[in-house]
C-alpha cells in the first residue's frame, strides 16, 4: 500500500529531472567517489618521495692522463658500474648495464669485448652489441671536466647509440 502511494506521488512531479531522493543519493555517491579518487591520487603521489637516500650519480674519475689510449679501464666497474674508455679522439664512459635485462657484463681483455654472464650478450669495445639477445648498444654516460682538471662522470645523463646521441656534446671528452 505504502509503496503504491509513494509511486503515485512521484508521478505527480514531472517538472524535475530527479526526485529529491535521487538527487541526494547521487550527490552522496558522487562526493564519496570524489573523496575516494582524490585519496587514491594522494596515495599514488605518496609513493614517490621527494628525497632518495641513494648514492650520488655524479663522481670524479681522476685525470685524463690516468687513461691510456686504446685501453678500457675497469677501475670504476666495481664501485660505479662504468668503464672508462680512451681512444685517439678522447674519453667516454660506458655504463656497465646489459641492455638485454640489466645484468653487469664483464670486460674480456683478451677477446676485446664486453660479455654478459646472464644470457651471453656481447658488445664491442665501443659498446656496440654484436652477439646474444641484447637489442641495442651499451649506454654511454655524460663526461665533463672539473675546474681542478679531473674527469666528472654524471650517471643520470645517458647517451643512446641507437638514437645517434654518441656525437652529442657531453658524450665524449675530447683530449
Amino acid at each position: 500500500m505504502a509503496e503504491t502511494k509513494g509511486k503515485e506521488k512521484k508521478e505527480e512531479v514531472v517538472d524535475t529531472i530527479w526526485s529529491r531522493r535521487d538527487f541526494f543519493s547521487l550527490a552522496g555517491w558522487a562526493s564519496f567517489m570524489a573523496a575516494l579518487g582524490l585519496s587514491s591520487l594522494y596515495f599514488a603521489r605518496l609513493l614517490f618521495p621527494r628525497v632518495l637516500f641513494e648514492p650520488s650519480p655524479v663522481f670524479k674519475a681522476g685525470y685524463p692522463s690516468d687513461y691510456t689510449v686504446g685501453a678500457v679501464s675497469t677501475k670504476y666497474i666495481q664501485d660505479q658500474r662504468v668503464w672508462i674508455v680512451r681512444d685517439e679522439e678522447g674519453i667516454y664512459v660506458i655504463f656497465g648495464l646489459c641492455t638485454h635485462l640489466g645484468c653487469t657484463p664483464r670486460w674480456l681483455n683478451t677477446e676485446s669485448k664486453y660479455k654478459c654472464p646472464c644470457h651471453g650478450s656481447g658488445f664491442t669495445k665501443e659498446g656496440v652489441n654484436f652477439e646474444g639477445p641484447a637489442p641495442r648498444p651499451l649506454e654511454r654516460l655524460k663526461i665533463s671536466l672539473a675546474p681542478d682538471g679531473q674527469i666528472i662522470v654524471d650517471k643520470s645523463k645517458k647517451f643512446l647509440g641507437e638514437k645517434g646521441q654518441w656525437g652529442e656534446p657531453g658524450a665524449k671528452l675530447l683530449v
Binding site: A44, L47, F48, P49, L52, F53, E54, L101, G102, C103
Partner: protein
C-alpha cells in the same frame, strides 16, 4: 559417603574390552554423560539430512560450500583436486608466513641476517622457512595444473566464463606473490632477479620511461612504473620494504577476496563441471 571400593576388572576382562573395541564406547559414554559435557552441549546431534544441510548453510565459514555435492565432483580423475590443493598450499604459506614474520625484519641491514638467524638459531625456523618456500613453489605449479585441467575439461565455458576470468586474476596474483617473496631473502639471487624483473617495468606502455607512448605521459626514470615499484632508482632498502608490504598485506588480501568470489561462483555456476 558410600565408600564402595571400585571394581577392578581382571586383566583378561580388560584385554577383551580392548580387543572388542568396547573400551571406546565406554570411554565415550563416560565423557558424554559427564556433567561438564552435558552442561556445555545441552543436547545431542541427530545425524539427519536436514541437520547436515543446516550445518553447512548456517555456518559462516562453510556456507560457501554446496550443501550437497554431485558424485562426479569427487572423482579425482576428473578434477585432479588441483584447485583444492592450491588453496591448501595457499593456507600453508599464510600460516608459515605469519610465523616467519615474528623474526623477519624487512630492513636492508637486518633482512639477510634475520633469515640466517631463523634458519640456524631458531628451533623449527628452518622448517617454517622451507615449508613456506616449497609450498609457494608448489602453489605456482598446482595453479597452472588447475588452469590446465579447467581448460582441458572445457570448464571455462558459459556459465563458468566469469569464474575463469577470476581464475586468470588469481594466477596472476599467485605469480606476483611469488615474485615479491623472491626479494625478501635479500641475497644476490634475490637482488638480481628483482633487478631484472623490475627492469621490465621500464617498458610498460604509457607508465614506463622506456615504454611505448611514454613521451605523451611525460614519465621519467624518477617517476614511472619502475620507481613506483622499488621506491627509488635502484633495488635498495625501499624496494625491500615495498615488496614486503605487497607480499604480506596487499596481494594476499586481494587474492583472498578473489578466492572467496571464486569458490562462491563455483557453487552459483552449477557446481564443479561434470564429464559430458
Amino acid at each position: 559417603m558410600a565408600n564402595k571400593a571400585p571394581q577392578i576388572p581382571s586383566i583378561a576382562e580388560f584385554m577383551d574390552k580392548i580387543k572388542s573395541g568396547k573400551i571406546f564406547s565406554e570411554i565415550a559414554k563416560e565423557i558424554t554423560e559427564s556433567q561438564l559435557w552435558t552442561s556445555s552441549f545441552r543436547h545431542g546431534y541427530a545425524d539427519t539430512p536436514r541437520n547436515r544441510v543446516l550445518q553447512i548453510a548456517s555456518n559462516v565459514w562453510l556456507h560457501l560450500h554446496p550443501v550437497k555435492m554431485h558424485r562426479h565432483a569427487l572423482r579425482i580423475k576428473f578434477t585432479w583436486c588441483m584447485g583444492g590443493i592450491t588453496f591448501l598450499l595457499f593456507l600453508s604459506t599464510v600460516v608459515t608466513g605469519v610465523i616467519l614474520m615474528f623474526y623477519y625484519r624487512p630492513v636492508g641491514e637486518y633482512a639477510y641476517y634475520d633469515l640466517k638467524y631463523l634458519q640456524y638459531d631458531v628451533p623449527f625456523g628452518m622448517l617454517m622457512r622451507n615449508m613456506h618456500r616449497w609450498a609457494a613453489h608448489a602453489m605456482v605449479i598446482t595453479v597452472w595444473l588447475h588452469m590446465f585441467r579447467v581448460f582441458l575439461t572445457g570448464s571455462y565455458k558459459p556459465p563458468r566464463e566469469f569464474n575463469w576470468v577470476i581464475g586468470v586474476f588469481l594466477v596472476t596474483f599467485t605469480l606476483l606473490l611469488s615474485f615479491t617473496g623472491y626479494l625478501l631473502p635479500w641475497d644476490q639471487l634475490a637482488m638480481w632477479a628483482v633487478t631484472v624483473g623490475t627492469n621490465m617495468a621500464r617498458a610498460t606502455p604509457f607508465l614506463g620511461n622506456e615504454g611505448p607512448f611514454a613521451e605523451f605521459v611525460g614519465v621519467t626514470p624518477r617517476y614511472d612504473a619502475r620507481s613506483l615499484l622499488i621506491g627509488g632508482s635502484i633495488v635498495g632498502p625501499p624496494a625491500l620494504l615495498r615488496f614486503y608490504v605487497l607480499h604480506c598485506i596487499f596481494i594476499p588480501l586481494i587474492a583472498g577476496a578473489l578466492m572467496i568470489v571464486h569458490f562462491w561462483r563455483i557453487r552459483k555456476d552449477g557446481g564443479i563441471s561434470g564429464p559430458l
